[in-house]
Amino acid sequence: MSNNNHGVREPLFHISRRQDYSLWLAVFVRLAAILLALVVCGVVIVALTGLNPMEVYAGIIDGAVGSSRRLWVTIRDTLALLLVAVAITPAFKMRFWNIGGEGQVLIGATATAAVMIYLGNKVSAPVLFTLMIGASLLAGMVWGVIPALFKAGWNTNETLFTLMMNYVATQIVSFCIVFWENPVGSNSVGIINASTNAGWLPPLFGLTYGWNLVIVLAITVFIYVYLRYSKQGYEIAYVGQSVNTARYAGINVKTVIIRTMAISGALCGLAGFILVSGAGHTISTTLAGGRGFTAIVVAWLSKLNTFTMMIVSFLLTFMAKGAIQIASQFSLNENASEIITGIILFFVLGCEFFINYKVEFRHRHREG
C-alpha cells in the first residue's frame, strides 16, 4: 500500500448522487430494507425478551388484521390518519409549516360534537349531516386561516403560531366538556346520542365505515388532482418554491397563503368530523391522538404524494395496532413494540439515501 506517497489519501468511500434512477432499483432497495429491518428486529427481540421473533411478528399481524373487526379498526384509523395527512399537504407543498393539524382536527371535531349535541334530535338526518360537515369545515378553516392571516400580513412564524393554536383548541375542548359532561361528574362527554344514534355516520354498502372510506378516498383523489393539475395547485407549488419569483410573476402571495390554509384547515376540520361522527361518537382533548403530528411524517415520507400516503398511513397504523396486540399478548412494555416500529422506520427512511445516492468504495488498484 503506497497511497501515502501521493500525499493525498483517497478516502475509503465517497458518495455521489445517482444520475440514473431506475424503478427496479428503488423497489429492490426498499424490499431489502424491510427484510433487513425484520432481521434486526428479530435479533433485538431475542436479545431483549427471549421470545421467538416469528411469534411476535405473527402477533403484530394478528393484532392489526387478525379478525374482520380488527381489520376494520385498522382501516378506520388508517383513513383518519390519511385524511389529516392529505389535508395538511397543500400547506406543506407551499412550505407553510403547519404543525397545527392537531388543533384544526380538534376544533372541527368540537364543532361537529356541538351540532350533534344541540341539534341531534331536533332536525332531520340530511340537514343534521349538512350542518355537522359545514360546522367542522368552517371551524377547521378558521383555525387554519388565523395563522395564515398573520403570516401573510406580518410574516409571523407559522410553526410557532400553529403549534400554539393546538393548545388553545385543547383548552376549548376542556371548556366544552364542562357543559357537555355526561353523566355529570364523569369529566367526559360519553357517547353522544347513544340512544338515537343521531349524527352517527350510517353504514354504506353494508360497511360500518363505508362513508369514511368514500369521503377520505374522494378527498385523497381530489387533493392529488388539485395539486397536480389545477391552477391553484400550480400557484401553491410556485409560492412554495420561491416567494420572490411568485411575486415577480404577479401571483398574489398573500391570497395564496390564506386560501391554501383555509383549504388545509377545513379538511383537517373534516377529519375531526370523521373522528366524531364516523368513529368515536364522542369528544375529548385527546381525540386527535397525535394524528396532526404523525400526519406530517406520513406526508413527507410520501414526498407529498397523496397516493403514497395511503400506503404509508396504512403501514404506520398497522404497526401501531400490532404493537398494542403484542404488548398485551406477550405482556411486554409498550415501549418494546415502539422500538420495533422505530427500527422498521429507521430502515425504511434510511434506504431512501441509497436510492438517491451511490456509495463508491476506494478502488483497490495496486501499483507496479
Binding site: 393539475y229 389545477s230 391552477k231 391553484q232 395547485g233 400550480y234 407549488a237 410556485y238 418554491q241 420561491s242 420572490n244 419569483t245 411575486r247 415577480y248 410573476a249 404577479g250 401571483i251 398574489n252
Partner: protein, 527 residues
C-alpha cells in the same frame, strides 16, 4: 494627469504617525476559473493615509481587499504588512496583523447589544465584565468622535449605527489598518459626513484606511490618494489633491473598445410606449433609492440604463413592474392601437391580470425570474396559466412553447422536463429571455442580461434584443459594461444616486461623458 510614485513625501508629518507602508501588495493575482479578477496588482497604503480604491463594477476592488482580509488567498504575489511579508490564510490571520475589514453586509447578532457584539468571540476571563467593555468602547468613541451607545441592541439601530458598531468592533480588536467596502452606499448624506469625520480622526491618529468606492465626489472629499483599478488591472494611483473628476473618470473607464455588436437603425416613427414622470422610491430603511426620475421609452429602440451598482436601476425597473412601491410620480403605458393606461398605481398582480404587455428579465435569474427546481414547462407556464377556465391549468401550450424555445434559442438541455436550475448560466438566461419575449411584449425590460455569460451566449442575447427592437418593442437595457451599452443601445439614460443625471444619444456619446454622469451626484450631475 500625474502618476505619483510611492516615495512621495507625506504632509501629515506633524502628527504622531508610524512611518512607512502599512500594507504593500506586490504582483497580486487572483483567478476564478477562467476569469482573472486581479491581474498582477501592485499597491500600497501608508499609516496615516486614506487610500481610495476606485473602479467600475467588476474591476476587482472587493476581491483585492478580500485577499488582504483573509477571505481569499492570492494565486500569486506577496503581501507585506508593516514591511514584513505575511501569509494571510483566513480572517483569523488578519486580526493579529491589525487588519480589519468592514463589509457591505454587516455581520452582527441582532438580539445582542453593541458591546456584546463587539466582544463576541474575543478571548477573556470566564466572567465578562461588560461595564469595563462599555467604558473602553466609550473611550474609543470619544477619541475618534463616534456616536455609539454600547448598551443598545442591534435590532433597535439604524443602518449607520450598525456600521459604527462594525467599525468599533475592528478598533476594539486593535485594528490599525481599516478596509471599508462601499461604506456610504447605505448612508444618508448627513450620516456620510459623520462617517467621514470619524475616518479623518482615525487617519490623524495614525491609522491606515482603505475605502472602496465608486463615488468620485466622495473620493475627492475624503481620500489622500486614489488607486484606480480597471477590469482587474491596476491603472495607477494619484494624489487626490492633484486629481479632478475628469482625470479620475478617464482612468476608471479607459479608452473606448470597439465591439462588433450590430446596432440596427430604429424603425421610421418611434412611438411612445412608456413614460415615467417624476417617480420617487424610498426603501424600508428610509433611503431614497429613486429620486424624481423621469424618462420616455420609445418603441423600436433600445434604451440603455447606465450607472454604478445600486444607483437605482433595480428600483427603476421594479417600480415599472409594480414590485417596488412608489412614493410619488406616475408611469404611463401606451399599448399599440389602444388608449394610454396609468400603470403606476398597479401592483405586479394587477399588471399581469390586466394583460399589460410588460416583460421583465430580472437580474436575479434563478431567485426571481425562474424557479430552479421546476422544469421548463412549469417555468413557461407562469406567464400563461391564468388563461382558460377556473380550475384546470393548461400544461400543453407551455410545453410546446418550451420545446419551441429550446429549438429557436439553441438551448442545451436534456429536455423540457429537466429542472432549469441544472442548466448552465447561459442556457438559464436563454430560457428566461425566451419566455419573456414569447409573450409579445410592448415593453421589454432586461437587467444585466449577459452577466456571467460566455461571449457567444452574450451575442445571442444581443441579437434577440435587436429582433425585439425591430418588432417595435421598447427595450430597456440595464447594463454595466459601457462599451456594450454604447455599441448596442440607441439612447443611454444615466443614473447616479437614484437621480437621472442625463439621457444621451449612444451614437455620439463618449465613455468619459457617461462615466462622469455616472459618478458625479449632486451639482456636477445636474449641469
Amino acid at each position: 494627469m500625474l502618476l505619483i510614485l510611492y516615495g512621495f513625501e507625506y504632509k501629515w508629518g506633524d502628527c504622531r504617525v508610524k512611518d512607512g507602508n502599512a500594507i504593500e501588495l506586490r504582483n497580486i493575482s487572483k483567478r476564478f476559473g477562467k476569469v482573472v479578477a486581479n491581474d498582477h496588482i501592485n499597491l500600497s497604503v501608508r499609516y496615516g493615509e486614506i487610500l481610495a480604491i476606485l473602479g467600475e463594477n467588476g474591476s476587482g476592488k472587493t476581491t483585492l481587499m478580500n485577499m488582504i482580509s483573509g477571505i481569499y488567498f492570492p494565486d500569486e504575489g506577496q503581501i507585506f504588512v508593516h514591511g514584513e511579508e505575511v501569509t494571510i490564510r483566513s480572517p483569523k490571520d488578519a486580526f493579529p496583523l491589525g487588519i480589519g475589514m468592514i463589509h457591505q453586509h454587516f455581520k452582527l447578532v441582532d438580539v445582542l447589544t453593541a458591546a456584546e457584539n463587539i466582544v463576541l468571540g474575543l478571548p477573556g476571563p470566564m466572567r465578562l465584565d461588560i461595564d469595563a467593555v462599555s467604558a473602553r468602547i466609550r473611550e474609543l468613541a470619544a477619541k475618534y468622535g463616534f456616536d455609539i451607545d454600547p448598551n443598545k441592541k442591534i435590532y433597535e439601530m439604524s443602518v449607520s449605527q450598525k456600521q459604527t458598531v462594525e467599525i468599533m468592533k475592528m478598533l476594539y480588536r486593535g485594528a490599525n489598518i481599516l478596509i471599508l467596502d462601499e461604506p456610504t452606499a447605505v448612508l444618508t448624506p448627513q450620516e456620510t459626513e459623520a462617517l467621514f469625520a470619524v475616518l479623518r480622526n482615525m487617519r490623524d491618529a495614525g491609522n491606515a484606511i482603505i475605502i472602496i468606492t465608486h463615488k468620485l465626489n466622495e473620493v475627492l472629499e475624503l481620500s489622500d490618494r486614489v488607486a484606480v483599478l480597471r477590469k482587474g488591472k491596476y491603472v495607477g494611483s494619484v494624489q487626490t489633491a492633484e486629481a479632478t473628476v475628469e482625470s479620475l473618470t478617464e482612468m476608471m473607464v479607459g479608452s473606448k473598445v470597439t465591439l462588433d455588436i450590430d446596432r440596427l437603425e430604429p424603425i421610421d416613427e418611434p412611438q411612445v410606449r412608456l413614460v415615467m414622470k417624476d417617480v420617487t422610491c424610498v426603501d424600508p430603511e428610509g433611503i431614497i433609492t429613486l429620486n424624481h426620475a423621469s424618462f420616455t421609452a420609445y418603441g423600436g429602440e433600445i434604451l440603455g440604463i447606465a450607472g454604478v451598482a445600486g444607483s437605482g436601476q433595480k428600483e427603476l425597473l421594479e417600480s415599472i413592474a409594480g414590485l417596488t412601491p412608489k412614493e410619488s410620480g406616475e408611469i404611463e403605458y401606451y399599448p399599440p392601437n389602444q388608449p394610454m393606461q396609468v400603470i403606476s398605481k398597479f401592483s405586479a398582480v394587477e399588471i399581469s391580470r390586466l394583460g399589460i404587455k410588460l416583460s421583465f428579465v430580472p437580474e436575479d435569474r434563478l431567485g426571481m425570474g425562474l424557479v430552479g427546481a421546476m422544469d421548463m414547462t412549469d417555468n413557461m407556464m407562469i406567464r400563461s396559466y391564468r388563461k382558460g377556465g377556473f380550475f384546470w391549468a393548461d400544461r400543453r401550450a407551455p410545453k410546446t412553447l418550451a420545446e419551441h424555445i429550446i429549438g429557436a434559442l439553441e438551448i442545451v438541455t436534456p429536455g423540457v422536463s429537466t429542472p432549469v436550475g441544472k442548466l448552465s448560466g447561459g442556457n438559464v438566461q436563454k430560457v428566461l429571455v425566451g419566455r419573456e419575449i414569447a409573450s409579445a411584449p410592448t415593453v421589454l425590460m432586461v437587467a444585466y442580461p449577459v452577466r456571467g455569460l460566455d461571449i457567444n451566449s452574450a451575442y445571442t442575447i444581443y441579437s434577440l434584443l435587436n429582433v425585439q427592437k425591430m418588432r417595435g418593442v421598447a427595450v430597456l437595457y440595464v447594463g454595466e459594461d459601457l462599451d456594450v451599452l454604447l455599441a448596442l443601445c440607441d439612447r443611454i439614460l444615466v443614473l447616479c444616486g437614484g437621480r437621472v443625471t442625463g439621457i444621451v444619444d449612444a451614437r455620439t456619446a463618449t465613455k468619459e461623458q457617461i462615466g462622469l454622469m455616472m459618478t458625479s451626484s449632486g451639482k456636477e450631475g445636474e449641469r
